[in-house]
Amino acid sequence: MSNGAGNRQNEPFARVVKRAELSTGKIVLLRLAAVALSLIAGGIFIACVGQNPFVIYGTIISGAVRSVMAFQGTVKVMIPLLVTSLGVTLAFKMKFWNIGGEGQIIFGATCATFFALFCSGMNHVLLIIVMFLAGFIGGGLWGLLPAIFKVKYNTNETLFTLMLNYIALHIVSYLRDGPWMDPGSQGFPKIARFDKNASLDKLFGIQFGWLIALLLVVIIFVYIKYTKQGYEISVVGESQDTARYAGMNVKKIVLRTMFLSGGICGMAGMLQATGSDITLTTSVAGGVGFTAIIIAWLAQLNPFSILLVSFLFSVLEKGSSVVQSNYGLSTDCADVLQGIILFFILGCEFFIRYRFLFRKKEGTK
């Protein structure tokens, strides 16, 4: 048996205890502090590669908003991010880990592209509506698939949706290399540029997807907060047993919500393909599905916060392309900074719910 003196040395230096709930003001302050710290850390990184952090930060911001054109570019980056974030929010609210935003974007875009390529002669407004629905339903089905297996066999949705991302990606590369290859490209594998008739109209110089995205912010907010279906999603997310005991049809709710979640992501794909790229490429999603998960989580699944966060992310992305042309730092700089900021915010969430208790404080009380 060990004695008292020996044990005292084993006493942990610090241990974690739950803290009483913090006020909203303090939480906001804590998060701001985390962002500030992360900017300092990012600054150190920039300084390490021999640049002045203040100049780089300044260029990022001015690069994104300095002119009408720059701002339009920023918004263009933001559209798919915002829409996809709103899409995954529905699934996350239900604690369904939809990591498949990428796949849903791609498949939605693919379905919309079918009409863009083969029905381009249709009436313009009608064609746009049809493509819109195709994108929504395509993405929705791609989201529904893992949900079906989840409710039926409890198949792990995180891993399954992840696999579906790549399956969707290779469907596009198949179409690009084969049936949908641009006949005018002389064997170079690419899909033809859409007919003018099949591309989205512009509003204030940007594809009108931005208007849809903004509308969607309000719609999702109202849907989650005030509708019966939104209420059901919250209850299922909190506890499936409670939902069951309240007489809810949990399976139906999961399927429906995942269809909507995937559908909205699919819509993002359609907007990107027909509004920005004007064709379908394998990089139509380009990591947006993953970034969207981070945005949704950072914004605590609140649609208005998502609007803000996705705008900031777009500024970072757009601004860093200006940094590249002005200072020769590659655009990957944006990803590094994103990562650093996120690491700090992820860490800071801990201090909202817990605190450390250090050795000195105890025993002498």
Binding site: F290, S330, C333, V336, G347
Partner: protein
């Protein structure tokens, strides 16, 4: 015949980076932490390992540097998810975004400073990692090519996988690790230092992933640095963990099968099997999805999916 041997050799080569990623992720997931940052850790390992090789011209320093870098990436993940109890999915994704960004950024940064305009590994290290170095054995007919012609990475990978299999199934430390992933509360009550077990294995797993990254940077493109050199292999590794049923020993043949699927398209003439190339690229993912579904359909069979996967542990929760 020689075509078949060439195919098998190529399959092993293509499967090796997957083997590292998979074994690393198995160790991580056995702690109950799903680290979606494999791609990121491999990228960081690729970058640092490559740079170390580029500047020191020493194969082992390159591998150690890559492993250390992967471990460092995993350390960030461990601090955030184990100590700070952050969401595992979000943290892993962030690590991936950060890792790829970091690797590409540093790569381009070093490239911009290099006078030649490319980064190519020096001759000595290239020779060290090239296959067919084993005296006598690699010259044997058939067997020589099939078993002894590979780059040292292949043997390191297999050795690590075998060691991990033994560690998991035949040691007390392995038993403790599995207990932590299954039921951290029970492990804690049994006197296992849950936090320390998690840190150790997550970091060790990251180191293994890092070596996989070094392979990607040094072998796949013939010793020339390019951006995005891991190119999604980390994600396939996450899939392979399921396919290998969380067993490092299965990961060996699992990764070689996946490697075979990846090179299949170069060896099967279009006239024989008229599937489009994209189909072969899709196969690994399709098969993994099927494995995932089938293993969840079997209710009775013992699945090795750690019961506490994805859940953080806080002892004083009440």
């Amino acid at each position: 015949m020689s075509m078949l041997i060439k195919f098998l050799v190529a399959a092993v080569g293509a499967g090796t980076p997957l083997l590292f990623g998979t074994v690393g992720e198995i160790l991580t997931e056995k702690t109950g932490h799903l680290n979606l940052g494999v791609e990121g850790m491999m990228s960081i390992g690729a970058c640092i390992g490559f740079m170390a090789g580029y500047y020191t011209d020493n194969f082992f320093i390159a591998i150690l540097a890559g492993a250390a870098a992967g471990a460092l990436g995993a350390l960030i993940y461990a601090v955030l998810t184990v100590t700070f109890m952050a969401n595992q999915n979000v943290t892993g994704l962030t690590l991936t975004i950060f890792g790829i960004g970091f690797a590409n950024f540093i790569g381009i940064f070093v490239l911009s400073k290099s006078p030649e305009g490319t980064l190519k590994l020096p001759e000595k290290i290239t020779a060290a990692m090239r296959g067919g170095n084993i005296p006598a054995l690699s010259k044997l007919p058939v067997v020589g090519e099939l078993l002894f012609s590979y780059s040292p990475f292949v043997y390191i990978g297999i050795a690590i996988a075998v060691a991990c299999a033994w560690y998991l199934n035949h040691t007390k430390a392995g038993l403790s690790l599995k207990a932590v992933g299954e039921n951290p509360g029970a492990a804690d009550a049994a006197g296992i230092k849950v936090t320390s077990v998690k840190y150790r294995n997550i970091i060790f797993g990251g180191a293994i992933c890092g070596i996989g990254g070094v392979y990607c940077a040094m072998i796949i493109n013939g010793g020339v640095w390019i951006s995005n050199n891991v190119g999604g292999l980390g994600w396939i590794a996450v899939a392979l963990v399921i396919f290998a049923n969380w067993q490092p020993a299965y990961a060996i043949w699992g990764s070689f099968i996946f490697g075979a699927l990846r090179v299949l398209k170069y060896y099967i003439p279009q006239s024989v099997l008229p599937f489009p190339i994209a189909f072969y690229d899709m196969l690994p993912f399709l098969i993994t999805a099927l494995v995932l579904v089938i293993s969840s359909m079997r209710k009775s069979g013992r699945i090795n999916l750690p019961a506490a996967l994805g859940l953080n542990y806080f002892r004083e929760e009440r």
